[in-house]
């Protein structure tokens, strides 16, 4: 889905606030947030693609205002409700206040009907598609051309795996793009490598 999480190339966020030996966690509750969603994954309540997709389904306003670990806990809460572990009302009651969840999901999809294998050196184009459900194609490569550098082992196809849709595992290709092709007249020269699922690619 085209949503706020798809940040690559967005402008106006200002300087990176960087410190040496920067901490992973700033408070004990952040450790708890990370631990609790990991525990739910470990127990098979949901998988990582469902987890990522529930973050993507947060309203843009909430996504931008929330810290990283508030996004984690919102995804966990949303999926606990959607999987029937608790109702939204009871969750709010337990929390003693409002409890914002992510928005409902659109349907997922299976592997692309015309997906094809590539080999290193192949020139490829990222399909010009807008997907309603979960997708791991950053918007900045949509419709863009690149070169296949290598192939990964097969992974669960996220567009299906986040929605309980049956699909074949598929490889990703390490595809090299030029930043100046991705954002003509709007990027500094660099090569940008993206791991692109087979279903997202077509031959040129």
């Amino acid at each position: 889905m085209d949503s706020m999480h798809d940040l690559g190339g967005q402008q106006g966020f200002g300087k990176v606030v960087h410190s040496r030996d920067a901490p992973v966690f700033h408070a004990k509750w952040e450790v708890r947030a990370n631990a609790l969603y990991s525990l739910a994954v470990k127990n098979g309540v949901f998988n990582m693609d469902e987890y990522r997709h529930a973050i993507e389904r947060m309203t843009p306003q909430h996504y931008l205002m929330a810290s990283y670990y508030e996004r984690s806990l919102t995804s966990l809460a949303t999926l606990c409700v959607e999987k029937g572990l608790v109702t939204h009302e009871e969750l709010a009651q337990l929390a003693g206040g409002g409890f914002a969840l992510a928005m409902p999901s659109a349907p997922g999809r299976g592997n692309h009907a015309h997906r094809m294998a590539f080999v290193p050196g192949d020139h490829v184009r990222v399909r010009d598609e807008h997907v309603a459900g979960h997708v791991r194609m950053p918007g900045y490569i949509r419709g863009k051309r690149g070169v296949v550098i290598s192939q990964s082992p097969a992974y669960p196809f996220p567009d299906a795996h986040a929605h309980g849709v049956l699909a074949e595992d598929e490889s990703t290709y390490d595809v090299r793009f030029e930043a100046t092709d991705l954002w003509p007249q709007g990027a500094e020269p660099a090569q940008v490598h993206v791991a692109v699922f087979e279903s997202y690619l077509e031959a040129v």
Binding site: V86, D174, H193
Partner: protein
């Protein structure tokens, strides 16, 4: 007619509620939080990745394994990665080429090897900007690369995981693997610093 929306509960209160839900399911969340805390702070540390790099600098056969089959090298070194991380790619810096990793869609990392991502890696500014203006972002973060150095940015959009192999500093020929590893920071393994 207006509807009344209660003020949002604090993050701690919301987590308490979620912990109660998981507890009712018999998942023993309190115990797992302690386990996770220890894993995150004691086991998933950048010293793991630093050790792999230092050994690769010192042992050409191990370097070959690390560069061609990262998962096998991780296992060989007695480390581990989660099963869903099926591919581990090590990116070697040279005089001509500098690599830097990111995750524009969320904040994926090889967390068992380089540690969970630092705060700035997860922030909106790094995620949005590094793919589009890497040289400026690196300079702002204190890494001013020579103009002739090419930059490659690696966006972690699937379950392939990356780690940068920094260049071995000159004058370190006599150092042991442990001494070399101590020179390598988490920032260097992400590619936002040299050593």
């Amino acid at each position: 007619m207006t509807t009344h929306t209660p003020p949002m509960a604090s993050v701690e209160q919301r987590l308490d509620a979620l912990q109660t839900v998981l507890h009712r399911q018999g998942m023993q969340p309190a115990e797992f939080i302690d386990t996770f805390d220890e894993l995150a702070h004691e086991h998933w540390v950048p010293a793991n990745g630093a050790g792999l790099i230092a050994r690769a600098w010192s042992d050409p056969a191990f370097k070959k394994l690390l560069m061609t089959d990262g998962i096998a090298a991780v296992r060989e070194a007695g480390l581990s990665m989660p099963l869903h991380h099926r591919h581990f790619v090590v990116l070697e810096n040279t005089d001509q080429l500098h690599n830097v990793i990111c995750c524009t869609l969320c904040s994926c990392t090889a967390f068992t090897i380089i540690g969970l991502p630092p705060d700035w890696y997860k922030d909106l500014a790094y995620r949005s900007r590094v793919v589009r203006e890497a040289r400026t972002v690196l300079r702002e973060m204190g890494l001013d690369l020579p103009a002739q150095t090419h930059i490659r940015v690696w966006d972690t959009t699937a379950d392939t995981r990356y780690m940068v192999m920094p260049q071995r500093p000159s004058g370190t020929e006599g150092l042991s693997v442990d001494q070399l590893a101590a020179l390598i920071s988490k920032d260097a393994l992400i590619g936002v610093a040299l050593i």
